[in-house]
Structures are given as structure tokens and as C-alpha cells.
Symmetry: C2
Subunit: 288 residues, 2 copies
């Protein structure tokens, strides 16, 4: 059976005991409201480690004022059942006051990588993410931590934090899980009206179109991005925050699609008040 | 015999092995140029843990441009001998390029506590300290870490970082070690000319005078600080950066000396280009 732990001290003691016994720990940090995407992370952790800890914590510091922190869907009982069925041993579900003291003053920040893409539209978002992930690493002491490719920039930022701070955790990334019509799974999809839900797969289609363009030889990011924007705005009511083609590690915007380097094509768009993100990451083989 | 380790990977693997064997690790982070103050930290670590790791690393990120990073005294061979004699098992002495990648982007910051006292005069100093200490914790995986009361603000800042980031390390603080004439031991004392060296104990005397004033019933911080400044400037050529009476944890400046709360009286002064700091920390008992 899964054990649910609410306080930091117990979780830290338990993790230390597990670690000292020579058993490996796989961590899956989530904000709960688990869907198939999260479950694929848990299954991966299950495959790659002896003990799986899934954390369920809606982290206030990664929401800006006016974002959906209060409205964010919460259902711990359901999450515990789903996490258990996917192979979780411990659910760590602390209260907000347990994670942040009232006079909390310490933050982990990653420069540059966090001022573009999502960082431009969500001030302090990544500072909240890196701070809570650093804390969760210290509390759960994992050997591996599993994240979804859905939050592509988050993966880049966390990888950098782990390298720069010499954190002894292997970051494992799992592909995006999609609905049958292509919409990337997200806890925020429940906010969509029926009409918005019918339109939302256009985000995925625009990424597919970009990929087709590139396969057909298009290398101009200006052209590729313009065609993505045209597709999205002609087929939906979505307001685009950004459409980007960037280097997959430095996140620097690209003028043309290079060969032999990781490329991240990513976007964020709002359907009414619901903000969705999606991306594809790939490397064009060097011609021989 | 002491083992000297230069690379992060070896140190991290070794620390993990030690930890898994159920043995406790005591860390003493230093910038080398060891004196009796450092040796008292090492002896304390020796008393409180099974394995002692002393790190010797002149950390570039805690020096501002124009400070003495280049000139800072370095002598690893001597440091290794002294560290060994005081009870060190491992000296971790990485090169600067081993600790910071060229594209290092991640920092640990503690707000508020770092913008006063030393932080006012040494921009980014504490960001460098907390970042390197977080890294050294991740590399050496200590159960306890020993710091000197000499760097009083550093102790306050690191304690806060450890609490806020849930770092599972006990912070142990060791009293200031002084020369026979009262001057606090410092690696920077070697910079002093003979005359400056003769004058420098006035800093300690000013702290002693403050303590006497308080014992005699003086409670006005304005009066206490003014008398400290007068003593220093009348008896030496020192230029005072600050003289402060602050709460020992929040570091907020005090108007009057309270009872039952920690008080930190601290100062920084320059003798020519050599900047020295000193402090006393105490709690006035509540009258019954």
C-alpha cells in the first residue's frame, strides 16, 4: 500500500533510511490533479528505481499574482489512488505552511534561461520551480527525478540547476502524453469550454505542420513560425503568447533550423483565461 | 594520513560511500590560509563526527571586483599539514574551473539578511557564499558543518538558507579565536603593516567597551555605537565601514538593547586597504 506523508521531517527521515539501506529512490514531483502524463512519469520512476516517491504540492511560489493558484484543481484522495496504481510507494503531500515558513527568504535562481519563453510571461515562475524542486530534492533525497517533456523549459532549467549546484540526482525526461486528438495532457485542460476543447488540438497540429515543413526542407524559422501562427489563429479563438524556435539547451532564438543541434519548437496560447503550452524537440541529422 | 581530493566527482562518490556506511561526516568549509580560528573549527568537527572533510577553496563568486581575490593568501601544502594535524581526514581542494562551469547560471540567494552590514559594502558577497556552500554541501554530504562566529552574518545567512531549503545539515558555530592582544584571527591580518597591526586590537577593545557599557546599564544603541566609533577613530587610523547593534537573527538595527533577545554588535573597518571585521553576540537576561 502507498504511504501518505504530510510533514517534511518524517519524509526526510524515511528517505534517509531508504537511501542508507542501499535502495534507490525515484522522485516524481507533481502539483497533483494527476493525469496520464503524470502516470507515465511514475511508471518510468517505477522501472528505474526501487522506491518511488510522488510529491503532490501546488507550489504557491511558481504562480504569479492573478494566475490560477487558488483555482488549480486539487483532489488528494484521487491522486493517491492513481499514484498507487501506477507504482508509487510514498506520496509526499505537505501543506503550504509546512513547505514555506512565513519568513521564507531563500530562493534558487537560474539566470538567462528563465527570462525567455515562459519566463517572459510568468514572472518569478521558474524561481518558484527551482526553489521548490531544490527543497523537494533535499527532503526526498532521490537518485533519479522524473519530469515531463511537456514543460520543456522547466526541464532545461532544472538540468542546469542540478549541474550548477552539483546536485547528485539524475534527471529523467518522459515524452508528452496526448489525448487521442493530439492535445497534450494537462491539469488545466479541465478549464476548457466544449468549444475551446474542440479547438485546442490546433496547437499540436501547428507543431506537426512545423515538423512537416522542416522535413520538406524549410529552414527559415521566420517562415515556420509565421505558418504556425496562421494555422492557430485561422482555426481557433486562441491568443498566442509566443511561438518559438530555439536552441534546445541555451534556449536562444534561432533564425534558421541548424543540423546536429537540439531544436525546441514551443508555444503558449490562451483559450479565454486558460493558458496551454506545447512543444516538440528534435535534432535534424547532419547531411553526410 | 589525510587524503587530498581535487575533483568533485571523486569527492561526491567518497562522501556517498562514507554516508552509506552509517558514518557521520563533519564539514569545515574554508578559503585556506588556515589559522588557529580554522583549526578550532576542525577540532570541533573532529569531536562531533566520525569523518572530517575540510575544504580549501578561494571562492571567486564571493569577491566583488576590486576586492582581494587575486591577492588572497594561498598555500595548499601548509594548509593540508595543518588540517591533518587538527584532525582532518579529507581535504577537498578543487580548482576554480572545477567548481564553476564557464556558463554557470545558478545562484542561491537569501533576501533581506544579505542587504545589510557586510552586504551593504560587499555587493553579491553573500550570494557567492550561499551558492558555494550549497554546492559544497551537495558534494561532501555532511551531517554537520562547522562555521566561525567571526563571520557572524554569514552564520545567520547560512542558517536561514539551510532552514528554507530543507538542507539536512546541522550548523555548528565556534567562538572567535583571538591573538593574545585581542585581535580576531583572520587570514587577512598578514596584510597589515606593523603599525596597523599595533592599532588593530582597538576593534576588539571597542566591542569590550560596548559590553562594559551594557553591563553598566547603558541601553541606547546610539550612545554605545557613538562611543565605539570615538574609541576606534581616536586610537587608530582605521576608517569605519559600519558599527552596528542589530537583532542577532533578523539583523534589524536596534534603537535600544532589549532583554531576552539575541544582540549582535558588529563592525567593519579598513586599515589602509585591509578590511577587518569583528563582533560580539549576547543576550541580556530578562530581569526577574
Amino acid at each position: 500500500m502507498v504511504e501518505v506523508i504530510h510533514d517534511i521531517f518524517s519524509m526526510q527521515q524515511q528517505a534517509e533510511r531508504i537511501r542508507r539501506s542501499g535502495t534507490t529512490i525515484g522522485l516524481v514531483p507533481t502539483m497533483g490533479s494527476l493525469h496520464e502524463g503524470h502516470l507515465s512519469l511514475i511508471r518510468r520512476a517505477r522501472n528505474q528505481s526501487d522506491v518511488v516517491i510522488t510529491t503532490v504540492f501546488v507550489n504557491p511560489t511558481q504562480f504569479a499574482p492573478g494566475e490560477d493558484f487558488e483555482a488549480y484543481p486539487r483532489n488528494l484522495e484521487r491522486d493517491v489512488t492513481l499514484a498507487h496504481d501506477a507504482g508509487t510507494d510514498y506520496v509526499f503531500a505537505p501543506a503550504s505552511g509546512e513547505v514555506y515558513c512565513q519568513d521564507h527568504l531563500t530562493y534558487v535562481t537560474v539566470d538567462q534561461l528563465t527570462s525567455v519563453l515562459e519566463g517572459k510571461f510568468r514572472p518569478n515562475h521558474f524561481r518558484g520551480v527551482t526553489t521548490v524542486v531544490a527543497k523537494l530534492f533535499n527532503v526526498t533525497r532521490p537518485h533519479i527525478a522524473v519530469f515531463g517533456q511537456k514543460d520543456a523549459q522547466q526541464v532545461v532549467v532544472i538540468r542546469r540547476m542540478v549541474r550548477d549546484l552539483n546536485i547528485d540526482v539524475e534527471i529523467v525526461v518522459v515524452p508528452i502524453v496526448r489525448e487521442p486528438d493530439g492535445l497534450a495532457m494537462s491539469s488545466r485542460n479541465v478549464y476548457l469550454t466544449d468549444e475551446q476543447r474542440r479547438e485546442a488540438p490546433v496547437l499540436f497540429h501547428s507543431l506537426g505542420q512545423a515538423q512537416t515543413d522542416i522535413v520538406n526542407g524549410e529552414r527559415s524559422c521566420g517562415v515556420i513560425i509565421r505558418r504556425m501562427r496562421e494555422l492557430i489563429t485561422s482555426r481557433s479563438s486562441a491568443e498566442i503568447d509566443y511561438c518559438s524556435a530555439a536552441h534546445g539547451e541555451s534556449l536562444e532564438e534561432l533564425n534558421s533550423i541548424p543540423s546536429g543541434k537540439p531544436v525546441l519548437i514551443s508555444l503558449a496560447a490562451r483559450f479565454g483565461t486558460t493558458r496551454l503550452i506545447d512543444n516538440i524537440q528534435f535534432t535534424v541529422e547532419k547531411e553526410t
